[in-house]
């Protein structure tokens, strides 16, 4: 059995963002990078399935050489090999282009299950996983919070609004997009980090896989206007507590 998990490297969301010179994306300088949170759950689920079935697991990531650091984490978590699609301009690409690259890579590899995060933390379009499945003409299940595999069949739970879940299923080959809380992503152990260094990390130039034109583009990127009205309090915690209590007495009825 063959498994694929697709991951993305994103900035830490607590970062101080700056707009780049072109005004269409954030500036990559001075950011701390990590694995997209949703993808950590995708990697964990893929590794669990690999451990259960003895399947072969490939992790794919598109980006500059910088993303190899994040791929090493996925390898240390238990993926067998990495495929790095080398692309210094990946952050400019729209979801359709990214999905086309992945589908082009996957089309001749007969993966039984493909795992992706349900969305990225930065772009957040939530399209790539489903588009890959449509391009490969395989079924896809989005936003899963529970996953089981038995005899070529996937049984999953989708998370809906208001805490409701839907029980769904399909036969493989299939693609699932993973929601937060699906499992508990493991921390790579030191021995596994060492082992990961010896694992195969194949590099493919993006030009070999990108055969489409983008269908959308970013006109501008900017900071939202501060709605205003909100009071910002800074200083000594004791004084802050007194100030806040005074405000609560004046503006709300909860201390009455």
């Amino acid at each position: 059995m063959n498994l694929l998990v697709c991951i993305k490297q994103v900035p830490d969301m607590e970062s101080k963002f700056k707009i780049d010179a072109a005004g269409t994306w954030y500036d990559n300088a001075d950011l701390a990078w990590r694995m997209n949170e949703y993808d950590e759950y995708a990697v964990e689920q893929a590794v669990q399935l690999k451990e259960k079935t003895g399947a072969d697991l490939t992790v794919l990531c598109i980006g500059s050489d910088r993303v190899k650091e994040t791929m090493k984490k996925a390898l240390a978590m238990g993926c067998d090999r990495g495929v790095h699609v080398a692309d210094d301009a990946s952050s400019r690409k729209d979801s359709f282009s990214i999905a086309s690259i992945i589908a082009e890579f996957a089309k001749s590899k007969s993966f039984d299950v493909i795992f992706t995060g349900m969305q990225s933390q930065d772009r957040g379009s939530g399209q790539v996983g489903v588009l890959v499945a449509e391009m490969l003409d395989i079924p896809s299940i989005t936003t899963i919070v529970d996953f089981a595999f038995d005899g070529g069949k996937i049984a999953a739970k989708r998370e809906l609004e208001g805490g409701v879940k839907a029980s769904v299923g399909c036969t493989t080959p299939a693609l699932v997009t993973c929601q937060l809380g699906l499992n508990t992503p493991r921390y790579p152990t030191l021995p596994n980090i060492m082992k990961a260094k010896k694992k195969e990390l194949l590099s493919v130039p993006v030009a070999d896989l990108c055969k489409v034109e983008a269908v959308s583009e970013t006109s501008t990127l900017y900071f939202p206007e501060k709605k205003g009205g909100g009071l910002i309090l800074e200083g000594d915690v004791g004084e802050l507590a007194d100030k806040l209590i005074k405000i609560l007495k004046e503006k709300t009825a909860v201390l009455a």
Partner: protein
């Protein structure tokens, strides 16, 4: 411009987000028709044509089937734009439709500025204006971003469409959330813990502050996913939607899904070390402090009142 609005039904009810789709179409000034897989007895108020597929045969969740039905309507109407809610139904179906239509999809639109679609980036910290390069566009709308100025009226002209085929994804039913007797929707005061509390031991600190304010404590998704707090106390799109008199967000950055669950609170206090955290957008007061020092201090002073 011609627009198809894709309404949703769940558990026999049409979702109110249908009116948000209508508000968006109004904002763009388009002529719209609606698509619904649903039940004839519960239809949204809408003056226009409604393409209705019977939910009994098409199923409430059947991505392949619903895609085929919607593509038939698209072939007939030749719309410039197809609009969904950015919901578990919408974000699942929209990319399938976009791919079949060779259309760009613009996800989670929060506003329209001079005709351009605006979406959030990096958990709402940034905004992005997106331009489609394709002739047709598929759009999903952030929950609550658009609302009608007037009460919706009228009844749709129903045009029934043939039921869908069985799809590759089977649907076995819903599992309701367990409430465990905690009903945050009735609480007057809610103090919520976010990732910023750092470790599970600090939940007690949040609980104590809630007690001092005679309220309940809640949590954001990461805290619930880490199993530091039970799911029945989760505030947000996938938890409870609350509107207390006072909401205190402790160490919560303010992901869109969390904001959607608490922004109707009467008064919001946020405690955060990051002055630029998106929670600041909905906070009446933002206390820039380390909550591990500030929360016990505040609790002590409240108890002394």
């Amino acid at each position: 411009m011609k627009i198809i609005l894709v309404a949703e039904q769940r558990d026999g009810k049409v979702l109110g987000s249908a009116y948000e789709l209508m508000a968006f179409a109004q904002a763009l000034g388009g002529e719209s028709a609606m698509f619904l897989v649903g039940d004839e007895s519960v239809l949204p108020k809408f003056s226009g044509k409604l393409y209705l597929a019977d939910v009994k045969s098409a199923g409430e969740f059947n991505p392949d089937g619903h895609k085929k039905l919607l593509l038939e309507v698209i072939a007939r109407e030749q719309p410039d734009m197809v609009v969904f809610s950015h919901s578990s139904y919408g974000w699942d179906l929209a990319p399938r439709i976009a791919f079949s239509m060779n259309a760009a999809q613009v996800s989670e639109v929060v506003e329209v500025v001079d005709g351009a679609l605006v979406v959030p980036v990096c958990n709402g910290k940034l905004r992005r204006q997106v331009a489609a390069k394709s002739a047709k566009t598929v759009v999903t709308l952030q929950a609550g971003a658009f609302s009608l100025a007037d009460e919706p009226t009228g009844s749709p002209t129903v045009e029934k469409i043939e039921a869908a085929d069985e799809g590759r994804v089977s649907f076995a039913g819903y599992e309701q959330a367990e409430t465990g007797g905690v009903d945050l929707t009735k609480a007057q005061v809610i103090v919520s813990a976010g990732r910023g509390i750092g470790k599970p031991e600090n939940v007690a600190m949040i609980e104590n502050l809630a007690k001092a304010l005679k309220g309940e404590y809640g949590a954001s998704r990461p805290v619930v996913d880490s199993e530091w707090v039970e799911h029945n106390r989760q505030v947000g799109t996938t938890g409870q939607t609350v509107s207390p008199k006072l909401y205190v967000a402790c160490g919560i950055s303010g992901a869109i899904q969390h904001l959607a669950g608490m922004k109707k609170s009467e008064f919001v206090v946020a405690i955060n070390t990051d002055k630029d955290a998106p929670i600041g957008e909905v906070a009446d007061v933002l206390v820039v402090a380390d909550l591990k020092q500030f929360v016990p201090m505040l609790t002590e002073k409240l108890q002394a009142l």
